[in-house]
């Protein structure tokens, strides 16, 4: 949090059928619906999140990610980061307060990888869902489905990883937590953190700009990953892979698809990092194990199905 960027705050995802998407994210993933707007967008959050929303479902003709937003510590930081982005050569767009209900003004920019990101300092504080502020119970009894704990990170596929790294590290204050290097020493995957998490955002080298691989939600335990897997099957939801462990981050994970074809991850565990940790490196020749630690080989679907 060297530059005042605090955490992934929201992601807006395009969905083909809003009600089917709502059912998926609310009843299966276990998010809480918190609002809707006149554009037909549906707002959700995970129960431990204190701000009003972290996922926005945007009815659209094609799936994919519209943008991912990071919360910064205060307005002064937002002002500074806008200047820093411009100084770096990255144009910004101003989105007025209220364009997302309950969210303050946003500074929007497109990373060299082709993905749209936003920064914002204010969002309506609604508190954790289902527990009191004083003497809070351990968890709310009425959670549904996978009982996702929080929106955790996104993984993007795109090109210009080096420039994207420069922007995130030197302008926004992220640090490199994990990476995959090819035989030439070129970085083909970069996992960037602004916290002690193994990644707050990650990028995989891909010839096409701006592709979306997955939005990830945190679960508490490996039992919860099993429960997620069971629920995926019980609800005839399309699975990608899992339960398994990643080599990168060592998180315990399962991947599946929302009804529009956007990939979701739910996971638990994963290594922690501090900024003084050397980045963890995986060699591209071990990419299979880096991605799927147990199978030690990639499934084609994981590499090629993007939205």
């Amino acid at each position: 949090m060297r530059k005042g960027v605090m955490r992934p705050g929201h992601v807006q995802i395009r969905v083909l059928d809003a009600e089917a998407a709502l059912k998926h994210y609310r009843d299966l993933v276990g998010l809480i619906e918190t609002d809707r707007d006149e554009q037909g967008r549906i707002y959700l959050k995970a129960w431990t999140e204190v701000d009003k929303f972290s996922l926005v479902l945007n009815p659209s003709d094609e799936p994919g990610m519209d943008f991912m937003g990071f919360k910064v510590v205060d307005e002064a930081t937002l002002v500074q980061l806008e200047q820093d982005l411009l100084a770096w050569g990255c144009p910004v767009e101003h989105i007025p307060a209220g364009e997302l209900r309950g969210c303050g003004r946003r500074i929007r920019f497109v990373a060299p990888s082709g993905h749209t990101f936003e920064l914002y300092a204010e969002k309506e504080y609604t508190g954790k869902w289902g527990v009191t502020e004083v003497n809070p119970e351990a968890w709310p009894m009425d959670l549904k489905g996978m009982r996702a704990v929080r929106f955790d990170h996104c993984l993007m596929y795109g090109d210009e990883l080096a420039a994207t790294y420069d922007l995130f590290v030197n302008v926004l204050g992220f640090y490199l937590a994990e990476q995959v290097l090819d035989e030439n020493g070129d970085r083909i995957a970069q996992f960037l953190s602004i916290s002690t998490k193994a990644h707050d955002v990650a990028f995989i080298m891909h010839p096409e700009k701006g592709k979306f691989h997955h939005a990830s939600f945190f679960l508490e335990t490996w039992e919860d990953v099993l429960r997620a897997a069971d629920l995926i099957s019980m609800t005839d939801t399309s699975i990608d892979i899992g339960p398994t462990r990643h080599g990168l981050t060592h998180g315990k994970t399962i991947y599946f698809f929302d009804p529009s074809g956007n990939r979701n991850e739910v996971f638990c565990g994963g290594d922690y990092n501090y900024p003084d940790h050397k980045p963890v490196t995986w060699a591209a020749e071990q990419l299979g194990k880096a991605i799927f630690y147990h199978d030690r080989q990639l499934n084609e679907r994981f590499l090629t199905v993007l939205t």
Copy 2:
């Protein structure tokens, strides 16, 4: 245990390289070496087993299962069961006491499926490994690898499932716990139990007689299945599939191969049954989900790689 057959007592597996096999079953699966004999066979047991051995590794030119043995409650039962086998039309062979070190005389027979089974009433009682008989601790500190709890069951591929069912149920006192029926109502998989376990032995319809699919060892928890998966990867052991859950039995499982190519399973959980429970039935058209509950499709390897 209607006819006095008590439990799966041992399995003898052919291995190409005795020391590599020992390393696999001792250091990775976590069994305890208890003896060797002049034929070069190596005897192992899991730590909770009170008898001297449950796995015998037999150095050989090709992998596979030599035989699986069941312990019966006493000598009188053994005498009766021999008569019952003969009366049913199943020839028996007498293996003298001591042919397996520490084991009493064995009655050997070949089931219609082509697999060799044995019954015996006596085996040297060595007690649980690593814990005392009085005031026993919860578990021994020195367990290795996957820390397998017990040899649990075997799964066989072969034909003549109906006759094999008749032999196991009507002569040996097993009951049908779970089954897969094809569209004609023919049983293509039968999971047979003499306890409250979902299977003590299981058979899958296959045109070739006497094929061995896997020997299975019990673990305590889903965390242990993850640990097993991690160890499989860390030791560069060949994995088949998992961690996952079965539809049949609902056990939580992972499959892998010993250095000779024999398939092993370690699993936890799974449904319990009593003899008055109706058998659980899966329709063949749902075979994918019946076998791999999460993926809901079979991998070719699981169906065709046999020893």
Copy 3:
């Protein structure tokens, strides 16, 4: 199951307030209400149980256990066991079919310990709750509270343990799985099994006959024991002790009280046994560790609060 006694089938518990008790066992423990009768009794079962009920709540002026019933394999066995009980010197009472709704005739007797037991061969088969018989999912989505898997066993306090042992072992076919011996070698606790479970019923030496210590329900995992503990706290339910492990059986456990003061246990794991296993023995001088493996000392409440 040497004499055809199959499993603990039901327990009838006296409760002071039927609706409060129902709320406790249905919403907190997670049992399913299946019937009521004209006496005001409420019938419940755990979701994996195939028979109509396993717990009967009997509105009464004082708490405690009315009786515990075991299911036997068939009517012929019931006839034989009645003769065997009488031959042993234990009078029996005939309870007609239908006295408990959906249950066949019951043979009732009082053990030397002062507790009332029953045997029965028939109960309405309702199947597992919430899952289909064909292609069953891993678990039902609508379970409440602790999601108890099954009624597992009861623990009784009373005297004449030796005679009670003789009755259960030699007449009913139980075997001694675990025991506590005092310095004179006298058995002050006996855990009796008719299955591979560490106990289907247990007795602790106590000067007063016929006291009830707890009814126990099985959970699947240690995570579920934590969840149970959390729910106990969230619902302001009176806790006795836990989460912890027992030395005896090594089960992982938590104890609490229903609104009438009857003690409940929910637990997972625990050692398995076969009839040829030597009984596990704990010395009375290690009773603290035998009961509470982690604390290694007894809490007074656990020993003295009985119903």
Copy 4:
């Protein structure tokens, strides 16, 4: 990390018998011995920690904590924080580089609560223990005992909580994650964080200055807490309380004592926080539940046994 303080880096604990203490922290807690010095101090670290040590055992005549040290991001930060401490009115002591082997110069100060703290910017980078930097496995196979993941935090008992809060929050950049308020609104417990953890250091109001309650080590799962509990019993280690959950932080925990009487905690889970989260508040009248979420009452020992 608003002021550049990064994480708890080490704690030096006084022990009566160095070898007994080493055995405790190495073989039971599962730390790695990394060095010794001419004063007889023994250096240990947990396996995921990248710096040379996090625990120093100092042979002494009485138990207790000598000091707790925080790592800051760089030397410039150290210089700035020294000025800020002095400006705040807190004298500092300079400890030269090398006084602790492998550690750079330390700025030492005594908080108003009476506890000694240190700041440092440099420590020998030894990397995670037992795994490679490139293509690292999920965990090392040779871990012992509880396999502690990292030194996590300390809890102190002392007075002047308000001044201590002011120092940690306004000078060092911590934020208040959780608190207990008495009926007058006075803070009697403060859990302070510089990360997303629920506490990096915590203080409980106590009339005597400078008392040490416990040093805490992180475990990965609730299964690991059970394993820790089992090991405590197997090794006849003095237990305080657990396994249980805290209301404060909701961590899952167990407490025990080292051979010198210093209290240790191992725990998993616990809430995460960001600086924009309102502090979680527990009312003093609910202190029992705040501390021990399941029992909902305090044990005297937890409150009064300090070193």
